[in-house]
């Protein structure tokens, strides 16, 4: 079965022509109404009557042996129902463990992470006991009464000391503290070695965190009579979470229901399995009562999944004319104390390695990626994962090549960017770049800026008398690609064993004609309901308002991966479109039964936005001229009707015009509402092989990986005296294929760019050398506020991916992938410095130090 490209017949839009301003009706969606009126239902709004509230006793030591846990005083405290220690839980709960099938040269060591530690703690904040009490206040009071005797042990505070000979071991089975290592080579080394230009750059991306405004949490209740566990969690991945709980608790997944209520932002951290979730589930089973855990912000900063903490050391070589001859890079990823579930600690080293060659022609590539254990909280996914390291490092290298070759930053990029006629292109990073026009994107972003105007502003700032030597402007740019909606083949290659890597949708038309869509990729604010409603509405020709979209509840939504890695529109959307195609077959089968025809003698057609089935047999007065190829049915060859199409013209594939007159009524055409009735009534005899009712299921593994692409340019102001940096202007030119919902796309871009600005200038989860966690509040961990983020101008191009039926490319992470590079690039440009190494974020202290080390650039350039 196949379905045609989604709405690609729309006039192509080009970078320089189109600016989408979210129109008012475009942006508003019914799902917002409860959220605007205070009637949303987030995790903490779920309030089972007799729930016990959990508080966790956490280790103040980064590495220690637990000698004794005395919970007697805590157990006697008011309101306390239970205090459970690691030793008590050890027999019934299996550790969190991410398996991998490392192929090729890769080497991986899994870790056992006990939800409640019994013998050893390996990070500040590791759980040693759980208190369940009548309310959270009482639970916290009692948690302070649990006496734990620790024997502090030596600490590995960072990745560099972790791999030094003789370092303390974080895990007994990893003598060198290396949990994952991979090495790739592509192309021949000679050109790289002989090339006249050689540039180097080392960059450390800080340990950051997704920091959704709603922290994490879970509500668990166990029905002893039926042996079923009901589990609500502020999660991105209900099915993966269910599988994880099942593994740890030894309960079959079918007896666990995981539901995500309104989720107040995800961004990655909420796709890992939390030890607190396992503990909450275990206590619910053990106590036979509802238990509730609502993470507070301090816990979140300390013990919700951190990300990145990656240093990349790289060297590029180029010909005298600025063409890249090769790239050699090594990443060192500090993944903390355990390899998290489901992705495991290979995530950052693998994805940074994929991303480093970027949208450029790189004839030689050598990469080593290391994931190293330290005594910090484990890392997991955060929007972009290791991919932002690609542009961060490569864009700076390319700028340096340009300077060495005497080329403008734009010219050196133009010479190296892959051209549309070179695509598809297998990157040495392992991705196959499918489509798009990378030079046009850069051009589009520069044109919108406009680049000449920015250069003029920069020149004025350089010789501006009013500001003395303080104020400087810099222009930064970053060109990049993003592999999205990754399929089973990619996860197989990566060896990640706990990601199903497909998604599913169930479509149901009920007897009254209303449509329900159940999809495995839930929303954390990305607007999936609206987007899926559109896909279904346009695909089936039903009013969008009549489509009810249900997400995020394993009791009703079909199995799938969930929401992460920019997969929802590609994989979840692909499943929806695939289900819609099956639904059309079913509708045709019902209509054929009604007319007593063969399914090949009818076809599904959308007229004036309304879907229906028409007969094409000789009997039909309207059948003349219908392209046989467009006949609907499993055996149909050639292009099927376009799913996004409006009206008969585009619904008829083959020929573009309406093949039959409108208003063919009665026996010539059956509308969906009539077919819905027929499919559910016993009075219509159905031939063998045609199921009654109208419910279809589609599981979808994208046949290829759509790679979206973008170019960002930033104008940044730097104060050389105070070290303050401010992003003044920002332009994104992006291509994520056919856009389903432009307001959602723009919202994703703007939010993600803001986060990328945070990575470049503000955000860092800090530990001191002794492994003590120092970012305990949002005054220490700086999330960009309204004054830190400028308006972001967006230019869209829409090149459908040739690798999937819909051509849609994912884009949820794009903004945060490009922004750190563009901003850092601009700061260095403002200061006129090319440091050999850089540690992010570029705080005022670091900028002052860079300014002191730099020369002032030629004021006239």
């Amino acid at each position: 079965m196949r379905f045609a490209a989604y709405d690609v017949r729309r006039a192509p839009r080009h970078a320089n022509q189109v600016k989408h301003v979210p129109g008012m009706s475009e942006a508003s969606t019914p799902e917002h109404r409860p959220l605007l009126t205070g009637r949303g239902r987030y995790l903490d709004d779920i309030r089972p009557a007799d729930a016990l509230h959990l508080a966790f006793v956490r280790s103040p030591w980064p590495h220690a042996r637990i000698r004794n846990v005395d919970a007697d005083r805590a157990r006697r405290a008011p309101g306390v129902a239970a205090v459970v220690t690691g030793a008590e839980l050890a027999g019934t709960v299996a550790p969190i463990r991410a398996e991998m099938e490392a192929g090729g040269s890769a080497r991986y060591r899994a870790t056992d992470w006990h939800p409640v530690a019994a013998r050893t703690v390996r990070y500040v904040g590791e759980i040693v006991a759980v208190v369940a009490a009548r309310d959270r206040y009482m639970a916290e009071d009692a948690s302070a009464l649990v006496d734990v005797e620790y024997e502090p042990l030596p600490v590995v505070g960072d990745a560099v000391s972790a791999i030094r000979g003789g370092a303390t071991q974080v895990h007994e089975h990893a003598p060198d503290n290396v949990l994952f290592r991979t090495e790739w080579t592509s192309g021949k080394k000679d050109r790289f070695e002989q090339a006249p230009i050689r540039v180097r750059f080392t960059c450390r991306h800080p340990r950051v965190s997704g920091m959704p405004m709603e922290a994490c949490g879970a509500v668990a209740s166990y029905d002893r009579a039926n042996g079923t566990l009901d589990f609500s969690s502020s999660t991105q991945v209900p099915h993966i979470l269910r599988d994880g709980l099942a593994r740890c608790l030894g309960i079959s997944a079918g007896r666990i229901r995981v539901a995500a209520p309104n989720v107040g932002g995800g961004f990655g951290p909420k796709m890992q399995l939390f030890p607190e979730e396992v503990a909450a589930a275990a206590l619910a089973v053990r106590l036979g009562r509802a238990v509730k855990w609502v993470q507070d912000r301090m816990e979140h900063l300390q013990a919700a999944f951190h990300s990145r903490d990656v240093t990349v050391e790289a060297e590029a070589a180029a010909e005298a004319d600025g063409r890249i001859a090769g790239l050699r890079a090594q990443s060192l990823c500090d993944v903390g104390a355990y390899s998290s579930f489901p992705l495991g600690c290979s995530l950052d080293p693998q994805t940074a390695g994929v991303a480093l060659p970027g949208p450029y022609r790189v004839p030689y590539y050598h990469y080593i990626g290391l994931a190293v254990a330290t005594h910090k909280f484990p890392t997991g996914a955060y929007r972009g994962v290791g991919v932002p390291l690609g542009p961060l490092v490569t864009e700076e290298l390319v700028s340096r090549i340009g300077r060495a070759a005497g080329l403008d930053p734009v010219e050196v990029r133009r010479r190296n960017l892959l051209r549309p006629d070179e695509l598809p292109h297998e990157s040495p990073g392992g991705s196959v770049y499918d489509s798009g026009d990378y030079p046009a994107l850069l051009q589009g972003a520069l044109g919108r800026a406009p680049y000449d105007g920015w250069r003029e502003e920069r020149r004025k700032a350089r010789c501006g008398a009013g500001n003395g030597a303080r104020r400087r402007l810099g222009i930064g740019m970053s060109c990049f690609v993003e592999a999205t909606g990754m399929n089973r083949a990619v996860y197989r290659k990566r060896g990640m064993a706990h990601v199903p890597a497909f998604d599913s949708a169930v479509l149901r038309i009920e007897p009254g004609g209303g449509v329900e869509a159940f999809v495995s990729t839930p929303s954390q604010g990305q607007g999936h309901h609206e987007s899926f409603r559109r896909l279904v509405g346009r695909g089936l020709g039903v009013p969008e308002e009549s489509v009810r979209v249900v997400l995020g509840d394993t009791a009703v939504t079909p199995y799938g991966s969930g929401t992460f890695a920019s997969r929802s529109m590609v994989s979840g959307g692909g499943a929806v479109l695939s289900a819609a195609a099956k639904m059309k077959e079913r509708l045709c089968a019902v209509a054929a039964a009604r007319w007593e025809l063969d399914a090949r003698q009818v076809r599904f057609i959308i007229r004036d936005g309304a879907g229906g089935v028409e007969r094409t047999d000789a009997h039909a007065t309207t059948g003349a001229g219908i392209d046989r190829m467009a006949t609907h049915g499993p055996s149909a060859k050639g292009p099927a009707p376009a799913l996004g199409s409006e009206g008969a013209a585009s619904a008829s594939a083959g020929d573009g015009s309406a093949a039959s007159p409108r208003g063919a009524a009665g026996t010539e055409r059956l509308e969906i509402a009539e077919l819905a009735h027929l499919a559910h009534t016993p009075f219509l005899p159905l031939p063998a092989g045609v199921e009654p009712g109208l419910e279809v299921h589609a599981a979808y593994d994208p046949p290829g990986v759509p790679v979206s692409c973008a170019a960002h340019v930033a104008l940044v102001e730097v104060d050389r005296l105070t070290g303050g940096a401010r992003v003044l202007r920002y332009v994104v030119a992006e291509d994520c294929g056919p856009i389903v919902n432009v307001a959602a796309v723009d919202g994703q871009i703007r939010g993600a760019v803001a986060q990328g600005i945070g990575c470049a200038l503000l955000e860092s989860v800090d530990y001191d050398e002794g492994g003590q966690h120092r970012s305990a509040t949002l005054m220490d961990y700086l999330v960009p506020a309204v004054g830190d983020v400028p308006d972001i101008d967006i230019v869209h191009m829409e090149t459908p991916s040739p690798f999937t039926e819909s051509g849609i490319k994912g884009m949820g992470e794009s903004g945060i992938i490009g922004a750190p590079a563009a901003v850092v690039n601009a700061v260095l440009d403002a200061l006129g410095v090319s440091p050999s190494g850089l540690v992010l974020p570029l705080t005022p202290e670091r900028i002052v130090a860079l300014a002191a080390a730099g020369r002032d650039p030629d004021p006239t350039s």
Partner: protein
């Protein structure tokens, strides 16, 4: 510490008489004692602004106030903003501009902005950004929120 105190407070026009622990925060009081869960708690340390409500008209952070402190006062929360089924113009502007994604920060932004707009019916963009600078949103990048507040100002001026 656990001895209960009387709190009489008017919330969205309704008078509540409750006995609470002195340490109970206003946010928890609203959410858990009164069941008004529209007020969100994002940090519990006064930084994110999610928990913003109005106390005798002023925008305040309910996570760093105790319920006992509002005894005898008037509180307004996001639940009181709409007039029955019809949204307040500020809520409408948020909806039209897509000024929310996950919606967790939204009640705090609404309560901050409404107070600001009462004081500044004709703000420019800088003034709006300044007024919102104490609230965090992780989803939107703020542009749509700023646009919504500016648009709400003009709708309110026109008596929309």
């Amino acid at each position: 510490m656990n001895e209960l105190r009387e709190v009489a407070v008017t919330v969205n026009g309704t008078v509540y008489d409750e006995r609470v622990e002195p340490r109970l925060t206003l946010a928890d009081f609203l959410r858990h004692s009164l069941g008004l869960t529209g007020t969100h708690v994002g940090c519990e340390h006064g930084v994110c602004g999610c928990c913003t409500v109005r106390l005798d008209g002023a925008a305040v952070r309910s996570c760093i106030l105790f319920a006992v402190q509002v005894d005898g006062h008037r509180i307004e929360t996001v639940e009181g903003l709409a007039d029955g089924e019809s949204l307040h113009p500020l809520q409408e502007a948020f909806s039209d501009h897509g000024a929310l994604q996950c919606g967790f920060c939204t009640p705090g932004f609404l309560m901050t902005a409404i107070e600001f707009l009462e004081r500044n019916p004709e703000p420019d963009e800088d003034a709006v950004r300044d007024a919102l600078s104490g609230s965090l949103c992780r989803c939107t990048g703020y542009q749509s929120i700023v646009a919504a507040v500016l648009d709400a100002a003009s709708r309110l001026r026109q008596g929309a």
